[in-house]
Amino acid sequence: MDKHPASSTTRQADQIPAELLCKIDEAVTHYPVSKRSASLPLIHLWQNHFGFIDESGVDWIAARLDLQPINILELVTFYPWFRQHAPGKTIIRVCRTLSCAMAGSYELREKFCKAAGIDLSTEVPHGTPTSPDGKYSVEFVECLASCGSAPVCLVNDDLHEDVTESDVPKILGQYA
């Protein structure tokens, strides 16, 4: 995952590096029938680079694909993966659904939060609990499709299987 230094005071659309532009141009070619199909890939590329998508990003992608901003915004707000605010540097997604819950994923998430210094009592709906130092975000996600090695969590792009509470400090250290 790319670093994402953007702060809320700068417009992401003013800081698009050439490499990102290149990836965007390539992605659009994958949809010869309809450019609109490239919406999801472009939001992904944007978020992979900046960490989230701001209003300028919504406008920029819409313009790139000859769409209205609402056509992009409605995707950003629908899909749980997309964010409009910066998350922590490392995102820990703990699977919440049945097989993982049976194997202790609720306790695992609490353990991750505690170890990362996240106060869950201040959690807001649809927010991403993030540690005060901005290093870690910990959230529940629905079934990660690895029920046979429950409980599991996705840390950035890496799947960790059969995670025990005693693995937590090691995993946090790995992404410090």
Partner: protein, 446 residues
């Protein structure tokens, strides 16, 4: 996944999993070709398209995504010469709780999928295909995209494939965390860059009005892999491995309270529920007894230990007769589970022992459906939140005596009243948990 590193259990027959779990097998094209890869594509390209579809029909392959629709019949809906563009979308949005098989194929044997899709594309006159992979599989997306590049470089994809004049472009399309995109028409809306609200059928059957309103075949990752295997093994041999009308092998994913959870590839109907749990998966944990089984992904109706079911079985004289069988003697195939009042679905078997509280388990699933409803249809959008709220308060001891009846009423009024099958998927757990374990849901008056 530990169970896959063990030698196959005698009941297993690894066909689509064969390469993926061979020691030293790598996902690159050289390894695939060295092990006979793309030979079946060559074979198929020398056949007439109708012959390919006939082979798939003869194999009795049923879709492995959950609906178990006969694959060859689905393909038969496409008219090659209707003058319209045709598309293929591979459903790699694996997200049904309890299901975990496609990731291993995407990670370890991506060319098997690409070859199966290329065979299908040739048969169906398709020149543009997408592999929809959920974004929670970021590595899989990279591996498959690389495999597509490799296949293109070797002439198995792209322009003029193997000198036959057939063209096929293939791309990976990543989802963004929405379970609903596993519903095929929702997947197509997502591919079109729209909010993935499912389309109503009729008229929007993908084979008629699919991607960009053109005929489209949507099949699961595992299904396309089986297509390749049908051409390797031969349709007749493949069909023989399964039950009549339901051929081949399928990956059964077992999770929960068993000793050896994991994905096991087994001939269709080749094990009973009891053999799967006690034999293949090593039985329950020490000192624990079986309490309940969700047999086909979280949406399938739950089964209670000790139940018996009346199912149709083929006698020695070939006649179908009705027979009463206990839960653990039920054969694991689509027809048997359907006559037992539930479904094989995505073959995600979640096993629960006597330490589990059914209200807690149902509440977990209700939260899932409440999170994943796309919000298009009112009964589902409102109803799944209500049932989630109700089981939540019941867990906290704040339930009221009429809650179980209200829960059932809300579920009954979602199922059958929505555009897509999510309504049923969310209602069936509520209805079946209440029916099978009423004692765990009763709330006494205060």
């Amino acid at each position: 996944m530990k169970s896959l590193l063990l030698p196959p259990h005698p009941k297993e027959r690894r066909i689509v999993f064969q390469n993926a779990w061979t020691q030293g097998y790598t996902p690159d094209i050289d390894c695939y070709v060295k092990n006979g890869g793309y030979a079946e594509l060559k074979k198929a390209l020398s056949m007439k398209p109708e012959e390919i579809i006939d082979e798939v029909k003869k194999s009795n392959l049923r879709g492995r995504g959950g609906a178990a629709f006969p694959c060859g019949v689905k393909w038969g809906f496409i008219r090659r010469d209707d003058g319209k563009p045709h598309y293929i979308a591979c459903n790699g949005d694996e997200s049904e709780p309890g299901t975990f098989k496609d990731r291993y194929i995407l990670h370890n044997d991506p060319h098997q999928l690409i070859e199966g899709m290329a065979i299908a594309a040739f048969a169906l006159n398709v020149h543009l295909a997408y592999i929809y992979i959920r974004c929670e599989f970021p590595k899989a997306a990279g591996i498959v995209a690389k495999a597509i590049e490799e296949a293109k470089a070797k002439g198995f994809l792209g322009k003029n494939i193997l000198g036959t004049g057939f063209d096929l472009e293939m791309y990976v399309h990543q989802g963004a965390g929405a379970y609903i995109c596993g519903e095929e028409t929702s997947l197509l809306e997502s591919l079109e860059g729209k909010r993935p609200y499912p389309r109503i059928k009729p008229p929007y059957f993908p084979a008629v009005l699919g991607l960009y309103m053109s005929p489209t075949i949507v099949n699961n990752v595992e299904t396309f892999c089986h297509v390749k295997q049908i051409f390797r093994i031969g349709a007749d041999e493949y069909a023989k491995m399964g039950t009549p009308g339901d051929g081949g092998t399928r990956v059964m994913c077992v999770s929960g309270d068993v000793m050896r959870p994991g994905p096991y590839e087994i001939p269709v109907g080749g094990v009973t529920m009891g053999e799967l749990i006690n034999d293949v998966c090593g039985g329950m944990k020490p000192g624990r007894k079986l309490k309940a089984i969700i047999p086909g992904g979280s949406s399938s109706k739950i089964m209670r230990a000790g139940e018996t079911y009346r199912i149709k079985v083929k006698g020695p004289d070939g006649e179908m007769t009705e027979k009463e069988v206990p839960l653990l003697d039920l054969p694991m195939d689509a027809a048997s589970l359907a006559s037992a009042g539930t479904m094989i679905g995505s073959a995600g078997v979640i096993v629960m022992d006597d330490s589990r509280n059914m209200l807690w388990a149902l509440n977990n699933l209700n939260t899932f459906y409440a999170h994943e409803s796309c919000g298009q249809c009112t009964p589902c959008r409102e109803g799944v939140l209500w049932i989630d709220k109700m089981t939540n308060r019941m867990i906290k001891g704040e339930g009221i005596p009429q809650d179980p009846a209200t829960l059932k009423n809300v579920a009954d009024n979602i199922a059958g009243r929505t555009v897509c099958a999510f309504g049923e998927a969310a209602s069936w757990p509520v209805q079946s948990f209440l029916e099978k374990f009423p004692e765990e849901f009763s709330v006494s008056g205060k």
